[in-house]
């Protein structure tokens, strides 16, 4: 029905490794970059990839994993939509003897033997890095520093963790105060609409912390429209470091970005091969990530992939 009937062949016969990968969705540019990275590196590594887009639904991911088990793929990898609720299906995978690798987001299973490893970034750490930068930046500040926060989609793991990490970090300086925090749904439009009201409600905003670049970029427009200078009147901290965000950083409109790299592909493929070869691998592999200041952004921008 969907063409490509050749992919329907039972894998494992041709000696080629087959990886079943279930992606969260394509809800952001970041996610698309992540998908692309995985697809490209699978091709480079000569691994056959069965890709599924769960469209943001855990149910779909579980379905996909079940189907991978039926198809007897060699390795299953997925970026869980939510942290909990994977035990049942992971147990089925384990019983079928198929190793599982998590990417990007972790699961909270008590039974760590259900999956081989986790490759991805630490959202809490991203929030923390952002907060620490701010604490450092405002060391000398006297008086209260008013912070507004643009949260990601309510209830999503990155939103919760980044908020948490940031809050932990800024607790170090009692002058730092989050005066308003609202969800912008990770979108530019959301970020802009919320920031417009923040600006009207709060005469003095010193810092904006956005849970991703897109909301920050949206807020940027609201700030400009309000006649303020982003990066100066209001310092902006975001997370992700996608191209547009890096550009804004390089232009001095943002002040700081904590990277959350989507380029997990190569690491994932490496682990797939290792797992299949029976090598032991660490329970947790963190992606190589960094933070950017405007200067670093300028330097990094020409070689950015996404």
């Amino acid at each position: 029905a969907c063409g490509n009937s050749d992919t329907g062949e039972q894998p494992a016969d041709d000696g080629k490794l087959t990886l079943g990968f279930s992606q969260v969705g394509a809800e952001s540019g970041w996610r698309t970059a992540n998908t692309n990275s995985i697809k490209e590196s699978a091709k480079e590594a000569g691994i056959e990839l069965k890709f599924d887009d769960a469209q943001g639904k855990q149910e779909n991911q579980i379905t996909a994993i079940r189907n991978y088990i039926q198809q007897k793929v060699d390795v299953i990898a997925f970026s869980p939509v939510v942290e909990s609720g994977w035990d049942t299906v992971l147990k089925e995978a384990k019983d079928a003897g198929i190793p599982v690798i998590l990417t990007d987001r972790a699961v909270d299973s008590a039974d760590k033997s259900l999956y081989k490893t986790f490759i991805g970034s630490d959202f809490v750490k991203e929030g923390k890095l952002s907060g620490e930068w701010l604490v450092n930046e405002t060391k000398s500040a006297t008086g209260v520093v008013n912070i507004v926060e643009l949260q990601g989609t309510t209830g999503s793991a990155p939103a919760n963790d980044r908020k948490k990490g940031f809050a932990e970090a800024i607790a170090a300086n009692p002058n730092l105060k989050v005066i308003a925090s609202q969800t912008g749904d990770f979108t530019r439009a959301g970020g802009k609409a919320v920031m417009e009201q923040f600006l009207k409600a709060n005469p003095k905003i010193d810092v904006l912390f956005a849970h991703n670049d897109d909301m920050g970029l949206g807020a940027l427009e609201a700030i400009t429209a309000a006649g303020k200078v982003p990066g100066k009147d209001i310092k902006i901290i975001t997370i992700d470091a996608v191209k547009d965000g890096m550009q804004a950083l390089a232009d001095g409109k943002f002040n700081f970005i904590a990277e959350c790299s989507p380029l997990l592909g190569p690491q994932l493929m490496e682990m797939v091969k290792k797992v299949k070869a029976g090598e032991t691998i660490p329970q947790r592999i963190e992606t190589v990530e960094t933070t950017f200041t405007p200067e670093q952004a300028k330097a990094a921008l020409p070689t950015r992939k996404y």
Partner: protein, 329 residues
């Protein structure tokens, strides 16, 4: 000349017109399954069919409730959120150490209560169901994030057994307990619709509300009842979902109401009410499930093509269903 040639058309194979949509759906479903089997080798494995049931058990239950509502000509947009709310509540109550039996009771009460409230507002204040249940949807979703803005794992042993129990051959073909529960709900739903007064009143209400009123049927009671039933089914669906995922997450089952409505309508139930069968709904759920399965088996579609192909398959299916339906007319 006999009068029989002039009687309202009845086909030589004597399938009454009202069964045609359901049969068309069934035929197409089988065709679709056949295509899957011919394209992908592992598809013929019977476990694939069981997996469709395992993965869509909760959807099935919710769709049964929705069938009642749609048969009266109403609609219930709150189901997805109520499912999530029920799962969330169960998870949070279990985490707080409550006995699983008590949790089950509470969880099974909340959905119907919300349904009761919505039904009463719809009936007594004569407000359109779409709006009332949309508000219900916001409310229940709001409750989810209100309970907790992050997902809550369930470690309760009862839940865990229910979730991980494999009925059948645990190494080979099996179904989960949820499937059995879902099938029971389907049977009960079908029975109620076909063999009880409540069920027939539901059809009458969907056929013509004014007539139903003038015929002395308990219109108000029936109307409220379908929302309670839908709420109950959503609650059961929510519990099944919490078995399925062993957790409650605030953003789970977003947009599920559309899947459910689509399943019911694909199953041959008319949105204006008055005609349709639970069996059709089962088929509708299976159609969606098989489409999903086909796409994962293919495994070569990227994210946006997935959506386009889902839309395309849906279109092809409905078009064919429509054409078969017209021809048989």
């Amino acid at each position: 000349m006999t009068t029989s040639s002039l009687t309202p058309a009845r086909d030589w194979w004597r399938i009454p017109q009202r069964y045609v949509p359901v049969l068309a759906t069934l035929t197409l479903l089988l065709v679709m399954y056949g295509i899957g089997v011919s394209q992908y080798r592992a598809f013929s494995n019977i476990q694939v069919v069981f997996n469709v049931f395992i993965d869509n058990g909760f959807l099935l239950v919710v769709a049964v409730g929705m069938t009642f509502v749609i048969l009266t000509g109403g609609i219930d947009l709150s189901v997805g959120s109520v499912v999530a709310m029920t799962a969330m509540m169960s998870a949070s109550l279990l985490r707080s150490g409550m006995h699983p039996a008590a949790v089950l009771v509470i969880a099974l009460l909340v959905g119907p209560t919300l349904g009761l409230l919505m039904g009463c507002v719809i009936h007594f204040f004569d407000i359109q169901p779409f709006i009332v249940t949309l508000a219900g949807m916001f409310f229940a979703r709001g409750m989810c994030t209100f309970i907790s803005d992050s997902s809550i794992p369930i470690t309760d042993p009862f839940w865990t057994t229910m979730a991980q129990e494999r009925i059948g051959d645990p190494k080979g073909t099996f179904v989960s307990t949820s499937v059995l529960i879902a099938l029971v709900v389907v049977l009960v739903g079908a029975f109620v619709l076909a063999y009880t007064r409540l069920g027939r009143n539901v059809y009458a209400l969907g056929g013509n509300q004014q007539s139903a009123l003038l015929m002395g049927l308990p219109v108000g009671r029936t109307k409220v009842a379908v929302y309670v039933i839908s709420g109950l089914c959503s609650a059961i669906g929510g519990i099944l979902l919490s078995f399925y995922t062993l957790s409650g997450a605030p953003l789970i089952a977003v947009g599920m109401e559309l899947d459910v409505i689509a399943a019911v309508v694909i199953g041959g139930t008319v949105l204006t009410g008055g005609s349709g069968y639970v069996f059709g709904t089962v088929l509708g759920v299976l159609v969606l499930g098989v489409i999903k399965t086909l796409i994962t088996f293919d495994g070569s579609l990227n994210s946006w093509w997935t959506k386009i192909v889902i839309g395309g398959l849906l279109f092809a299916f409905i078009l064919l269903q429509r054409l078969i339906g017209i021809r048989k007319k």
